[in-house]
């Protein structure tokens, strides 16, 4: 007969396609973390006093904290003194007049990743901020956006040009003391993206940040802050890749979203950090804190994530529903293949009246992958009329992987409505055989079944990225069935 019966377990043998290293001269500080290192980072970025104070306050807080141990993810102890906290391509960024002055090697890197930075080559309707190791190297369509009063720039630039906005909102959603990794990020973060949409403005294009870790032994600690003023709308996307290295690298980012009255923020992530090899060696530890605050009435924060990369993904994009009638959404596809571990979910905290939240989580486990959904729905006393709907589905490929669901529910208001649905299914040899008998090869069958499973999430993604995400998922599962 043509195929061995073990076929399904051979899932995902495709090599990681983005694993190259860019040879580029970098300004890298020595390994290790101390107050001096933090002062050095702040000085390199020529930051105002309030930033340095905030960093030091965070660092001191971090020293008193312990790495959390409550999740199901397992990894060897991280030596925080063995990490480089700042690495930047050696180009004087503040002196750049145009992309022509960007190191061509950098432009080639992004072109190779399918992210052309020259505006004429870009997808129509997408503005890109590219972050390479610790710093933002280019932001496109800035001028066009500025005409509408939209600020889209690197975090460093925002600190220089708009310190009042940064000071007002930095840490207002994720406080410096929030958790171990957020405190670490607050102390050492080197760059990231900053977005401000003025009142009443609908951002005419997708804003996108593309993160790339390149340097060895480097941690990436970026920070994104997005503010949608009253009645504003923005759709923001982030993508990420890293070279293949046999040592684990730490990525501890923080994202803060603030939506004022009637404002809407849609935040989409296609995360494809290096997941490690088939034996589980190397890969990125993706320990990220993402939170949105629906501060105003009728505001909305919507998270969509497709998490296919990283050795470990540990993140819970959450929404604080403060304004009355505000809406929080979380749509997630998380894939754990080979020895990947994913522990992801969300927190929906209902504070205002008639607040609503929707959670749709799709976990896919293959190989020896372990996938956990962990979600909390909290309805506070004042949240009269609050409603939540949660749906958590797990799909298993093969019999060596695992799926786990941990829903937490805390309801303090009796007028609220909470619904939870969960399912676990397995792609069986019989399903694949059925497809093959209809002429569809095994790999296409797996990919078709997985896409069917994920479609409620994919349809939340902006079109171009939905196509990307489908392809990525296909590649991540390729080679699975012989």
């Amino acid at each position: 007969m043509s195929t061995p019966a073990t076929s399904i377990e051979e899932l995902a043998n495709q090599e990681y396609k983005w694993g190259f290293v860019t040879e580029i001269e970098a300004d890298t500080i020595p390994k290790g973390l101390s107050e001096d290192v933090i002062r050095m980072i702040s000085a390199k970025k020529n930051e105002p006093g309030f930033m340095l104070e905030w960093r030091l306050k965070s660092y001191r807080q971090w020293l008193t904290m312990e790495e959390p141990k409550w999740s199901t993810v397992r990894y060897p102890a991280i030596d925080y003194q063995d990490i480089v906290y700042y690495s930047a391509p050696k180009t004087k960024l503040d002196q750049l007049k145009s992309l022509d002055e960007v190191d061509p090697e950098l432009l080639r890197t992004y072109a190779k990743l399918g992210i052309p930075l020259r505006e004429q080559e870009l997808l129509a309707g997408v503005a890109v901020d590219a972050v390479f190791d610790s710093v933002s190297v280019a932001t496109t369509f800035k001028g066009k956006l500025a005409e509408m009063g939209i600020i889209f720039c690197s975090f460093s630039e925002a600190v220089q040009e708009h310190p009042e906005l940064v000071q007002k909102y930095l840490g207002s959603v994720v406080p410096h003391s929030d958790n171990f990794f957020a405190a670490l990020n607050s102390a050492v973060f080197s760059d990231g993206s900053f977005v401000y949409i003025p009142a009443g403005v609908r951002c005419p294009m997708e804003l996108s940040t593309y993160f790339r870790i390149n340097a060895k032994d480097t941690g990436q600690f970026e920070r994104t802050l997005i503010i949608a003023d009253a009645g504003a709308y923005v759709s923001y996307l982030e993508g990420c890749t890293a070279p293949m290295r046999d040592k684990n690298q730490l990525h501890a980012a923080v994202v803060e979203l603030v939506a004022l009255d009637n404002a809407q923020i849609k935040y989409s992530t296609v995360q494809n950090w290096y997941p490690g090899d088939k034996e589980g060696k190397g890969g990125i530890y993706n320990f990220v804190t993402k939170r949105g605050k629906c501060l105003g009435v009728n505001s909305k924060v919507s998270w969509t994530q497709v998490e296919t990369g990283s050795a470990i993904t540990w993140k819970y994009p959450s929404v604080l529903l403060m304004g009355d009638n505000s809406v929080g959404e979380f749509y997630s596809v998380a894939l754990a293949n080979n020895y990947q571990q994913a522990d992801t979910g969300t927190k929906m905290i209902h504070i205002g009246k008639n607040t609503r939240s929707t959670i749709v989580s799709k976990g896919i486990s293959a190989g020896h992958g372990q996938n956990a959904y962990r979600g909390m729905v909290k309805i506070l006393k004042g949240a009269t009329g609050a409603r939540n709907y949660s749906q958590c589905d797990s799909l298993l490929l093969g019999d060596k992987c695992g799926a786990h669901t941990f829903p937490y529910l805390e309801v303090k208001n009796t007028s609220s409505q909470v619904e939870h649905e969960a399912s676990t299914s397995k792609i069986g040899e019989d399903q694949i055989f059925y497809c093959r008998q209809r002429g569809i090869p095994a790999e296409d069958a797996v990919s078709m079944i997985v896409h069917g499973f994920c479609k409620e999430v994919f349809r939340e993604l902006p079109m171009e990225f939905a196509v990307e995400a489908q392809k990525l998922l296909g590649i991540s599962l390729e080679g699975s069935v012989g």
């Binding site: 007969m1 061995p4 399903q431 002429g439 569809i440 896409h451 069917g452």
Partner: protein, 252 residues
């Protein structure tokens, strides 16, 4: 040249021999019924022809259009025109019937060097085929076999056969579990698909389907071998005597 030639086929599952020397020749345009008691190997034969790897072929040969069928992977067999209507059709949640069938048809067309059908042409075509098995177009948007009744699943198999237009169709107990109305619908569907080029093998436990779908040849399978072959009257005879009579007749 016969469309399908099975010569001395032996097959086992987990070391246990189920097929113990099958010989069968099916020509284009013919409809053969394979009957037999439970455990005689009827479904195993269908699965082996489909290429299910749970079954190991230990001896013998199968030629399809003169070529070695057993060396082809299941998807290639389908692309070459072999279709199995399964006894227990599998559910595929989240994938609509429409999407599934379009993927199947276009993969098959591509393998034959034909152009893929676009969504509009595909829809027009499938709506015609739906009528053949008396199904509502709303059915196209439902996930494959998910939450289908037993009868709907069987009708869906016949509908898929109508869309994929195979050269050789093998119906594995398509009549089991159907009430008389559903049986008539399925039988009408099958009759509507009989052509001069297309051969069918109908595997069934009971004679009643053969009241509606009239076979050219009837074979009785017992203990992994074909013990008796004849025309449509053999099926009626079986109805009278039961399988035991036939088996005894052979051993006597």
């Amino acid at each position: 040249m016969a469309l399908l030639e099975i010569k001395n086929l032996h097959a086992s599952v987990s070391g246990k021999e189920i097929l113990r020397g099958i010989d069968l020749t099916v020509g284009a345009g013919e409809l053969h019924a394979i009957m037999g008691p439970n455990g005689s190997g009827k479904s195993t034969l269908a699965q082996v022809l489909a290429g299910r790897d749970l079954y190991e072929v230990t001896e013998g040969q199968v030629l399809y259009e003169g070529r070695d069928l057993l060396s082809m992977p299941p998807e290639q067999r389908a692309q070459e025109g072999i279709f199995i209507a399964f006894q227990y059709p599998v559910e595929i949640p989240g994938v609509s019937n429409m999407y599934f069938l379009k993927a199947a048809l276009n993969t098959i067309r591509k393998s034959r060097g034909l152009e893929e059908l676009d969504a509009m042409d595909f829809l027009t075509m499938v709506k015609e085929k739906l009528a053949l098995v008396d199904m509502d177009p709303a059915f196209l948007n439902r996930p494959v076999n998910a939450d289908f009744s037993g009868g709907e699943k069987k009708r869906n198999e016949i509908f898929q056969m109508a869309v994929l237009e195979p050269r050789l169709a093998i119906l594995d107990e398509t009549d089991s579990g159907l009430d008389i109305d559903a049986l008539k619908i399925v039988a009408n569907g099958v009759n509507g698909l009989r052509t001069r080029d297309r051969a069918m093998i109908v595997v069934t436990h009971y004679q009643r389907l053969l009241n509606y779908v009239v076979p050219d040849c009837v074979h009785v399978l017992a203990d992994g071998r074909i013990v008796k072959s004849g025309d449509k009257t053999l099926a009626l005879e079986l109805e009278q005597t039961g399988y035991i009579g036939v088996e005894e007749g052979v051993t006597a």
